[in-house]
Symmetry: C2
Subunit: 129 residues, 2 copies
DNA sequence: ATACATGCAAACACTTTGCAGCACA
DNA sequence: TGTGCTGCAAAGTGTTTGCATGTAT
């Protein structure tokens, strides 16, 4: 199970690292395909999974929509605009003390957490009032 | 746009209120269909949407899987077992002070948040070691 | 040489929608 | 009576998979 350094894998990684706007798999696919590089969407999905498992990019699961990916692998939180559905970074300290406040879950092994804020981004806020 | 009190809507609401294990739309459908009541899955989805918009049940969005629903409408958090994929309640104070710690999002309107913990439930923890 | 990776299409899981008929208010 | 609701099937998303072929090591 040794990973290979293929053109497609390199392109997926470089594209995520270049796009700083939380692209979805489809957006990454279209970005690569626009450069006249032959790549299939299945390959994009496969490489996104491998790269995020290796910790080279971050997978941001989004309920009710396409998951997106982040060049920034440092744990952080996100905000989804309920109007334009774009995803933004939220600058907030990583909540390491959250687990101490949990009661009655002693038998669970809690490994990680995600916080997803919802609201309106500046543009949609101005637009929708 | 006046809501009607149909048999199907009542059944969906009662079923969610009776099942205390965060059922998915499909599980609710199967529960109702098992009682020999004719209902279509589309109707279950439509009523789940209406009931959660009315605040009679709570919609729990789950990335990478089927969303589930909760009879408990008081905001609270959830934990998803990465092995059996079941969803559990997390007993933790609602984090009202979270928004104060956010920096640089002054132009955003933050309306709500979800915290999803991930890990292993007691059974899967014992099973997988 | 031989795993691993790719492209393609089909399958998959979850959810929404168009439509004709039905039923609550 | 009329609008809202239903069942059904089909379509819509987002993602994964089977398979034959291709390629990095």
């Amino acid at each position: 199970m040794k990973n290979r350094n293929t053109l497609q894998r390199r392109l997926v990684l470089e594209t995520v690292q270049r796009m700083h706007n939380h692209p979805t798999a489809d957006e990454i696919y279209r970005e690569i395909a626009a450069e006249n590089t032959l790549i299939s969407k299945a390959t994009v999905y496969r490489n996104l999974k491998i790269l995020s498992q290796q910790g080279e990019i971050q997978h941001i699961p989004i309920p009710d929509g396409a998951d997106c990916f982040d060049f920034n692998t440092i744990p952080h939180y996100h905000l989804e605009c309920r109007h334009c559905l774009r995803v933004f970074d939220v600058s907030m300290p990583y909540q390491t003390k959250l687990y101490d406040q949990i009661e009655g879950c002693e038998d669970f092994l809690i490994e990680s957490h995600d916080i997803l804020f919802r609201g309106l981004c500046p543009e949609c806020r101005a637009e929708t009032g």
